[in-house]
């Protein structure tokens, strides 16, 4: 390699912005992303390695922040949209991973991407009644950029669905207030990025990712297959 290339840990937030997220929940998301940016500026373990993309989904998927160093961007406000189409979210995040990693300098070493999926409801779409084809494409291990997916659910999210969405780790929030739920999810997410940046390395991939989700706020869910 003839020019400096730095290792990148790609992290994507895949956030449900359906109507049910209105109010405290979306406000908590909007407050948390600047905190993520502060963490990036203060902690070498995350700030020097983690690159973050933010993708939202409702009836459509939208790449709000392409994979980037959060320290370098102005964070846009996340707005509430319409329904809850997981298919659109999975399609969009796959595209965001592909575009984001392809845009890195040639030869850049990268960690396996991690997608933090966050939803407060069930998949509801007339256009895509079945979300699993998009999910299978996203997690197909023959695609070399296939991410790990960590699922966080709250509100009316369905535990079984979260267990299917997660490649290994799924959590259901125990808190009752949506704003608190989202805040705790964002705390857990931040802590997980920090831990993963430092120690995500293992011969058996099953042990490679460690997620810190405190049990006082979350119920860990078993992994279920589609």
């Amino acid at each position: 390699v003839d020019s400096e290339v730095f290792t990148v840990f790609p992290v994507f937030l895949l956030i449900d912005v359906s109507a049910s997220m209105a109010g405290g929940a979306i406000e908590a998301v909007n407050n948390a992303i600047p905190d993520l940016k502060k963490e990036m500026l203060a902690n070498p373990m995350t700030g020097e390695i983690a690159r973050v993309g933010v993708v939202t989904f409702s009836d459509e998927g939208r790449t709000l922040i392409p994979l980037c160093d959060l320290a370098d961007v102005t964070i846009p406000e996340i707005m509430i949209e319409g329904g809850t189409d997981f298919y659109a979210g999975f399609k969009e995040v796959k595209q965001a991973i592909e575009t984001g990693l392809r845009s890195l300098p040639k030869g850049t070493p990268f960690y396996r991407p991690v997608v933090f999926f966050m939803s407060d409801g069930a998949h509801q779409s007339r256009v895509h009644p079945d979300w699993s084809p998009a999910y299978r494409e996203l997690t197909d291990r023959t695609w070399k950029l296939a991410p790990e997916i960590v699922a966080f659910g709250f509100g009316d999210a369905q535990a079984d669905t979260l267990s299917k969405v997660a490649t290994r780790y799924a959590f259901m929030s125990k808190d009752s207030d949506p704003a608190t739920q989202v805040r705790e999810i964002m705390h857990a997410l931040l802590s997980s990025i920090r831990t993963a940046s430092a120690s995500f390395r293992d011969p058996s991939q099953a042990d490679g990712l460690t997620i810190d989700a405190p049990t006082e706020h979350f119920t860990p869910l078993p992994k279920l297959s589609l």
Binding site: E4, L41, N43, E48, K144, A198, R201, D202, G208
Partner: protein, 297 residues
Amino acid sequence: MNEEAMTGLEAEQSPADLSYPVQGDLRDLETRAPRIGKVIDGDTPRLAEAVAFRVPSVQLDGVQCGRFFLAAGSQVGLSHLREGTPRQDGYDFIATANGNLVVALADGLGSRPYSQVGARTFGELVVFLAAQDPGLTAAEYLTQAATVTGEFAQRNYNLDSHSIAFVGAVAVFDPQLCSIARVGDISAFARTDAGDFEELFVHQADTAANLVEASLPGRHEPEIVTSDSDRIVLATDGLAGDLRFSPAVREWLAKLWSRPVTGSAMNEALRFRRQGSHDDRTGVVVWRPVLDPAAIL
């Protein structure tokens, strides 16, 4: 002081809140090592509670070993200093009775609680085996030492192979050739006359950086390379990655290692800061033939 004032003071500064030294108050020696990319200064190094089997944060050598000169350094990574966990890399070496030099390197897996035990024991056992039987191949030292490491940890500490897992490599230098066997991602480089580093193992560039395919103890066929270069660098992945991906690091180390160096010069060599380079760094540099001792930096 009345009781109310005392209570107020205690509330502001309970012993649990106090720590030493104050952030930014650590004195360090000056360094000429480069800072590369966007680097963020870290916190005060710390040691977490209840850490067993801690090894020193730094290990250094610069010695003549029979016909060879060996300089080696291993430094704890920033990620460990921040988490309060010990260095998990290790190296060891022996000038054998038949005139060879045998070098062992190991890198404990970050996610395993006692991988430093595996890494350290492996190095000691390679050296012990080479002292007993200097005629084995690099692959034989590696597989035998790895097996005994697993048994040793189980018998003496009741630690299973999973909790001490590491990747390892053994190099046997004779006057003509160097043979290196590895399981995992430790790598080796030959120094070229142009001052560059030529990687001897094939690096899989298209896989995710954090996935290691094989570890020890365990049954894995070692990969083997040989080289007749008179300057070989063995490196765990923390340093190998910097050599692979950073022209600035290569330039810095090529200059410093243009001739044999002392242990403290090895420390200086590994003090560069590079964006995203937070793993333990271990490098063993072997020169052949031995130069005049007066030429040591």
